[in-house]
Symmetry: C2
Subunit: 227 residues, 2 copies
Amino acid sequence: LLEFRGITKDYRLGKTVVRALRGLDLVVEEGEVIAIMGPSGSGKSTLMHIVGALDTPTGGTAFLDGQDLQQLKEHQLVALRGKKVGFVFQTFNLVQTLSAQRNVELPMIFQGIRKGERARRARELLIKVGLGDRVKHKPNELSGGERQRVAMARALANDPEIILADEPTGNLDTESGTPVLAMLKKLSVNDGKTVIIVTHDPDAAAIADRIVRLRDGHIVEEEVRNA
Amino acid sequence: LLEFRGITKDYRLGKTVVRALRGLDLVVEEGEVIAIMGPSGSGKSTLMHIVGALDTPTGGTAFLDGQDLQQLKEHQLVALRGKKVGFVFQTFNLVQTLSAQRNVELPMIFQGIRKGERARRARELLIKVGLGDRVKHKPNELSGGERQRVAMARALANDPEIILADEPTGNLDTESGTPVLAMLKKLSVNDGKTVIIVTHDPDAAAIADRIVRLRDGHIVEEEVRNA
Ligand SMILES: Nc1ncnc2c1ncn2[C@@H]1O[C@H](COP(=O)(O)OP(=O)(O)OP(=O)(O)O)[C@@H](O)[C@H]1O
Ligand SMILES: Nc1ncnc2c1ncn2[C@@H]1O[C@H](COP(=O)(O)OP(=O)(O)OP(=O)(O)O)[C@@H](O)[C@H]1O
Ligand SMILES: [Mg+2]
Ligand SMILES: [Mg+2]
């Protein structure tokens, strides 16, 4: 399903170069739950952006469902992402002027889903993440963990094949985080979705089939949890 | 030092009212380390903003060092906060156009610290949080946990008496978070500073003298850890 080989990523900053990823291979099968872990600054979010086709690697090859991502034009990448990938950003990236419900509806507008169906599905997803009584709140009228859960609901709006969640429980206590993790696990076990989670929360890593550990832009360890 | 009694906080949203804090008492002695814990949406950040005089309660009394916060004018609150309180926001609140070093220098400019001393102190604080080689990076050129650590360094810029840190390790793995927590503990033990941390990270709660647990805007439990 996902095949990334020899991936490097350099950021240029004036005269210096920050080598965020220094050559790594990642192959993910359909329906797997992967946890990507590692110290702050080790390259996890950079890798997630490349896997989600939101950024291009400096070197290496990237295939999603057999398609060479580096051969696709921008509008083709946008179409591919819109249909197949749900992204929960580490910074949430919610639209500040829209309510929680409208934020979750936004990706569905791009896919041409009708208004009534959009509203119904958005409310259903917000109830699932425990925010049924906060649907009309704007992001600055929500707590940190509530914003994070709106971002999770939005990532699921178009029922994507691949869910990429960057620190989905970072702002959540155990009681609020457990339903989110259970939902992610179900998407894999029941619906065959592929889930990749960046985390340093052991409870989130516990739902993974495989843990990939990064350090300084390398994969230093892979741990298979379920045979 | 800090005396908050009968604190309520209501948010008005159109016709509905969200009662974020429903009457709570919090008394904090000088030099204490307090951990505030509780589910997402239970009122922790709301309480932190009131304790840090960044927001006013709907009801109740608020005294900081014997001063009635509700009798102070805006410019007096700004002066009090600038001198005595260091705040690490859950959303970091860094200035996007300034480098990490300039972000840490900013509070010192308001206190009239000279340029050379500001730069020296900012670099020293950034080295302490493990970002000595990222001082020139702007926030969008840093990882999530690195931004969080810049926010921590900035909170300590004016050597405040009171440090309020809202989820200081939310984006940090254990290896990156341990030095931050050790630094906060030292500020209390060595320098007699008062430290209040909102967290759901057990490692952060472990440095506290007392844990205050919130649920639905109430304090439901207090646990004294060190006699
Ligand atoms: N400006 C606002 N307008 C309306 N409701 C608000 C506003 N800010 C916060 N709230 C609501 O008040 C409640 C408490 O929010 P608060 O940010 O204090 O929670 P929290 O304990 O910090 O949560 P988290 O752990 O998710 O950060 C939440 O349910 C939130 O939806
Ligand atoms: N736009 C950029 N320009 C320069 N350096 C960058 C940029 N974005 C990230 N970096 C650097 O690349 C490294 C990897 O960043 P990345 O965000 O992938 O880390 P991370 O593993 O997600 O960390 P965290 O756990 O703190 O979120 C970091 O050291 C960061 O400073
Ligand atoms: Mg990251
Ligand atoms: Mg909060």
